[in-house]
Amino acid sequence: MKEGFFLGIDIGSVSTNVVLIDKNGGVIENMYLRTQGKPIEVLQKALATLYEKYGDSLRIKGVGTTGSGRHLASLVVGADIVKNEITAHAKAAIYFVPDVRTIIEIGGQDSKIILIKDRIVIDFAMNTICAAGTGSFLDRQAERLNIPIEKFGETAIKSQNPVRIAGRCAVFAESDMIHKQQLGHRCEDILFGLCLALARNYLTNLAKGKNLENPILFQGGVAANIAMKKAFEQLLGTQIIVPKFYNVMGAIGIALLAKERTKGLITKFRGFENINGCKFETKGFECHDCSNYCEVVGFYSNGSLVARWGDRCQKYSSNRNYHIENSKNL
């Protein structure tokens, strides 16, 4: 345990993933946790678990953060690299399947399509405005039908005669499902119908006008659902690969990026004790200095201000310049 490890953190809307890779890129540890609206606490807990397991022998050489909470996470752990989840996912997919051409990625709130050629991203799309057909929606429907989300795929795949459901919009889909349910359709037929509707929605919204070449990778939390995989295979008429670490691919990608970024450099990682012993807090207020009425958010660690963001005029967020200018000591 002396050679040094790299930490990848992916904080999404639904899940918080932490992976540990060694210097050869092998995945040592992967954790998939529910964010439950408390990203910082969940992250701290995950790191504490890691620390308990390995103790001081765990030498972290580099840390990367990704996902929608990447900036927050980078402030908490002291990240060497902060990258968006699209790049991170592509990185991991290319690492595991070098000749990958298409990545279907469906997470809690986001769905993305990434097209790759010669190991370079050539095009991507991400859902805008609406999140119909993502993990959260499936979660909610499973809950409504009283089926644990882990059993969703197993149940749906039994369907022989899927029901046609309007998947254009989550609200329409739900009311359509309820209608079909009242007609007495079997539960698995409704569930697989829903999977087909969501896959259709994905293909018409995100993949419109794009050429989906083989091999196709399906990753993100929703890839756990075998019925979704089957639905995509049925619609595309081709085999789809679900990689082994499908649900932590973003975290692996960012760990790989961190490994490359910190080559020969000293990591900015703050250390497990410092992170676990710290109390992080976010406080916001509305600025009334101009008619923009920005909502400014401040991030505090043990009561002292670390960073601020959310303002359009940069009065608070670029606080370095601001304070230098307004300092009376200079």
Binding site: T87, I120, G209, N292, Q314, N321
Partner: protein, 364 residues
């Protein structure tokens, strides 16, 4: 005396304000586009109307509360919904019980008589020709400031210094009166911008195309230009306010056309389908021909012409070898999602380029 107001659209207020002041009216500038304007607009507008309409409604209500009694807006024709903005807004305000006059200036080819009738309500004064000339010159200058800001943002040494000057200019422009004072303010801003220290960093060039309102107005596009500037990209837009005046007010009189549109739209979209679709496509092709690094296509949700433009751009993807990203805007408050997409877009550009971080990003 009339108290005139008008909707916000980027820096339009700078020009409109001095124009009406020179014509001898009192001007009420509504507060900048903000969340409150959207809230008001949302409440009063039809459900699936586009974002500019909602912002317009918000601006009007806020201006009326500040004492305005006359609204001046431009009309339009063609299949885009902008054509009935004026009429619809008039009806909504009437239903709400506001006693205001609405002057909708339709384009010239909608009938000269109608145009003169509407225009005479506001232009019934002195030497119009010289005023218009001076205001037009001012519009060019104001756009010059915006262009300069786009150029300087990725290159400035102290981050945020350009924005500080720019925001101050916008703020102070509310306090001056008339063309002369405004011109002096513009000159000051120009001098300040010229004195910003720049460093020669590797700068990527991004072309912005899309719907008129959302690309000119930085609030509705979630400050994309500023975000891109901070990420180290120089931004070029296909439309500024003075250009809008050129193409929509001056060119039709002389029966001229925008040369770039004429040249690049021939084979894909020879006819006008309304809105800004033809310009969007032709400028996308133009930016590609100019070896830009990427194109950003911004439009409001449910905008018909731009949806067509999007499909056309998808169709000619093989002809123009340049990454294009489409951004749909509506009343989104947080810019986090936009930042993620922009970052990924820049990563994509970076990975494509020969000298970029390609090794780090995707290859082992």
């Amino acid at each position: 005396m009339r108290k005139i107001t008008f909707p916000h659209m980027g820096n339009l207020f700078v020009i409109a304000k001095v124009l009406f002041e020179e014509l001898g009216f009192e001007v009420v500038v509504p507060p900048y586009n903000n969340r409150i304007a959207i809230e008001i607009g949302k409440r009063l507008s039809p459900e699936f109307i586009c974002l500019p309409f909602k912002l317009n409604m918000g601006n009007f209500i806020q201006a009326i509360e500040m004492g305005a009694d006359t609204i001046v807006i431009f009309g339009g024709c063609g299949p885009c919904r902008f054509g009935y903005y004026g009429a619809l807004e008039k009806e909504i305000l009437k239903d709400l019980g506001y006693d205001i006059e609405m002057i909708v200036i339709e384009p010239l080819f909608y009938g000269l008589r109608n145009f003169l009738e509407q225009v005479s309500k506001i232009f019934a004064r002195k030497n119009i020709a010289s005023i218009l000339k001076r205001v037009y010159r001012l519009a060019k200058k104001v756009d010059g400031i915006e262009r300069k800001a786009h150029f300087l943002r990725p290159r400035e040494m102290v981050k945020g210094s350009v924005d500080k000057i720019y925001e101050r200019f916008r703020k102070e422009s509310l306090q001056v009166y008339g063309v002369d004072q405004m011109e002096r303010l513009v000159d000051t801003a120009n001098v300040l911008l010229d004195n910003v220290y720049i460093v020669n960093e590797k700068v990527r060039k991004i072309g912005i195309v899309g719907e008129i309102y959302t690309i000119i107005d930085c609030f509705s596009s979630l400050n994309i230009e500023k975000i891109l500037g901070e990420m180290g990209c120089e931004v070029e837009r296909n439309l500024y306010i003075s250009q809008w005046i050129d193409t929509h007010l001056i060119y039709p009189i002389f029966k001229r056309k925008d040369q770039i549109v004429k040249r690049y739209s021939k084979d894909v979209m020879p006819v006008l389908i309304g809105g800004h679709a033809r310009e969007t496509i032709s400028y996308a092709k133009y930016f590609a021909a100019q070896k830009y690094d990427g194109i950003l296509h911004i439009f409001p949700l449910t905008c018909m012409p731009e949806i067509i433009a999007k499909s056309v751009l998808n169709g000619i993807k093989n002809q123009i070898d340049i990454p294009i990203m489409h951004v749909v805007v509506d009343e989104i408050d947080s810019d986090v999602g936009i930042k993620t997409r922009l970052e990924a877009f820049l990563d994509l550009i970076e990975a494509r380029s020969e000298d970029g971080e390609r090794g780090l990003l995707f290859r082992d």
